[in-house]
Symmetry: C2
DNA sequence: CATTCATATGATAAAGTTATCATATATACT
DNA sequence: AGTATATATGATAACTTTATCATATGAATG
């Protein structure tokens, strides 16, 4: 399997805005305005990232009056997240202590 | 499950250097020098990212003479990658056409 | 068709990440 | 101990990504 797809896949989920949107839509479909309110994110920030998620096929949308309703590609996304759930506890503590990943110009403040 | 861990997990894999190292160690354990040669990456680049991968618990190391041998936490990592394999084909094409993810300052050159 | 509310888009400054360079530390061998 | 080879580390410049601002487009309704 193609290496680039893998990395893009992980990249899609590693972004806070996108990940929170996915988590939110995990429960139920929502309009852009609702997403903004629930997550307390700016509208254009949300729209830009929804565009990305839709381009990737993770969410889909339909117009409902003036609102555009976004919903999650549940079956596949949930299956992926559920599987990672099984493993992530093992790594959780160490991930959160990794300077490179937590970053903001590498590790601890001096 | 903690949201941050998730994102850090995805972030760890979304980086080219780290992902290639993981792919390489999927087959067999290797020293830093071997990894550098095989991937044609600079030594400090590899060391920095190995440190990250080890901090996260994805790889472990042991000294063997002057060489430090790194190996993959196979059971768990392989299980995760294998599961994603099952789904990624579905998204592959769209991921690779997503301007936000492919980026270099957003999408297509004008 | 003008207005209002909702969403999308382009450009770019700000923030974040990575590779690289210079150098330090580790290990083994003579 | 001195040298050679292997690996690690800190600082930072170069690069990449993101949020934000300004503005455009879409949809509905009087």
């Amino acid at each position: 399997m193609n290496e680039l797809s893998y990395r893009l896949f992980f990249k899609a989920f590693s972004n806070k805005t996108r990940f929170e949107i996915i988590r939110l839509l995990r429960r139920e479909q929502k309009s852009v305005t609702e997403i903004c309110k629930d997550l307390n994110f700016e509208q254009s920030r949300v729209s830009h990232n929804l565009k990305c998620l839709e381009a990737c096929g993770f969410v889909s949308s339909k117009w409902n009056g003036k609102n555009k309703i976004y919903s999650l590609d549940k079956k596949h996304i949930l299956s992926i997240l559920d599987n990672i759930d099984k493993h992530i506890e093992r790594y959780s503590k160490r991930l959160e202590s990794c300077g490179v990943l937590k970053n903001k110009s590498c590790g601890v403040i001096k």
